[in-house]
Symmetry: C2
Subunit: 330 residues, 2 copies
Amino acid sequence: MQAVCLRAIPEGMPQPSDFVLQTLPVPRPGTGQVLVRLHWLSLDPFLRAQLGGRYVAPCPPLGAVVPGYAVGTVVEDATGRFAAGQWVTGLLGWAQYAMADAGALQPVDATLAPPSTAVGVLGVPGLTAWAGVRHILEPKAGQTVVISTAAGAVGSIAGQLCKAAGARVVGLTSTTEKCTLLTETYGFDAAVNYRASDFAEALRAACPARIDGYFDNVGGAVLETVLGQLGLRARVVLCGLSDQYNRAERPPGPNLGPVIGARARLEGLVVYDHLDAFDTCRSELAGLIADGRLHYREHIHHGLENAAAGFIGLLRGENTGKALVAVAHD
Amino acid sequence: MQAVCLRAIPEGMPQPSDFVLQTLPVPRPGTGQVLVRLHWLSLDPFLRAQLGGRYVAPCPPLGAVVPGYAVGTVVEDATGRFAAGQWVTGLLGWAQYAMADAGALQPVDATLAPPSTAVGVLGVPGLTAWAGVRHILEPKAGQTVVISTAAGAVGSIAGQLCKAAGARVVGLTSTTEKCTLLTETYGFDAAVNYRASDFAEALRAACPARIDGYFDNVGGAVLETVLGQLGLRARVVLCGLSDQYNRAERPPGPNLGPVIGARARLEGLVVYDHLDAFDTCRSELAGLIADGRLHYREHIHHGLENAAAGFIGLLRGENTGKALVAVAHD
């Protein structure tokens, strides 16, 4: 059988020479295993991160079949779990045939949609879009939502789900043709080419009421531009960092890769939103102070003539506790 | 009276010469206004951001009294709302006396705690700590929480509130003396000097079970280091960016200033957390496809010999829709 194996770990953008087409023996299933004939192989951006050792799944060893999701039909299942000819999907790899543990395969309902959709709209890309929209973005009617890589497998579904929820949807993509696809086929309200030199201005024009939600698959400069135009209490799905998958060095500044890996939540706090809770807060803190359970320090500068020096010391981290100026009047 | 006025917009770290002590006439209250004698002037890091035009409140004009929270006593209130001698707080500025609209002053209960705390633990710094801990961090017993600028007005309160909630609290501060203050006076479980060259390792040693919550007042390299050690579903309060208040140029990488201003929420998504919802998601998407409300495209490459080229094209953004390889068998 034919299989594509990893010849070299890519540096920067992968090259065809990083991969090699080889002839390998068709694997023979062991106990509990299933032989699958592949029909559709999924190409996914996360593979680039995996080949750089930056993914939840480890980088495969050199010489191994390149990993990847695929859809195929069962040739032989000694466990009796799958009938011959049954459509299945799983992490089968870049080959004509693959072996898999029966428990690692999911049956595909070919009456629901064409089997290829099991690695697309009805597969992990569809689930990614759905989970990000349902659990993080939660778009409401009338809100403006921006979707990156909007003509891609995840973005196109995410945008249409937001549209179905009544949101105004603006897609970011890389060519004029794909912009047209977004508005004419997928029903997006607007599309912006993020590779254009006037991207920030074009985004602002497309989102005059600010941005309530953003589904980010790219990171980098595109994320930075959108963050600069977020509206009050906007929600951002940090889903991918395709902008840096091909870079040997991580870009400068806060790296959001570990934030994605940790499924962490970062939230901006502006204290003035909480003024209506001031009395509650004050009673609670005063009670803790009275009970000896909350301690505070004051760092006191004397006289207005020392206010500037006190302020500069505060910025240098030279104070300990609350910095104050005792104003003299004599 | 004495007042400190703004002589120049600071460049980088403020200099004493950016401020000037002047003698001004004591203001005379107009209709609805109150004359206040200042006792305590609050020095706050956000003033640096304000003087750089990067704050929710605008930068004051050159020559104006430097703005700032203060605590004082009422000298004269034509409105009758406040008695002479009543303690009040508000944005009064760097001066011995200030005028304020009666509605812009809050009374201070001097029986609760010393009046100076109205700009400290029982003022905006206390409310900031309380709101971040109660509404974003939500620490649980046994969790590990990290607090930046932990010996400061906000951090010291935030850490003690987390401690009262049963969390293990690790404080970040800038000197050995302040580390001792954190553990001995404030009851933190550990303290780490973020200016030490081994900061990342020391933080890891202090948080062996990973970090469940982080209260960030600094941004920059400290935030970057903590983000790299977040545990699953960690929560991060983005509250301040003192690391960049004195920089003329914004640091490279995603700028979190607008995220704070928008009170936005950024959340990492890993699709594998949502596999148990796969059936629900698939039924919903298949229904939308059947109804003609959800469209998808497949970008098909033919034969395993074209898989590598298809993958590279995907990384270049050359595909439209889901990238697939049709595996041939003849």
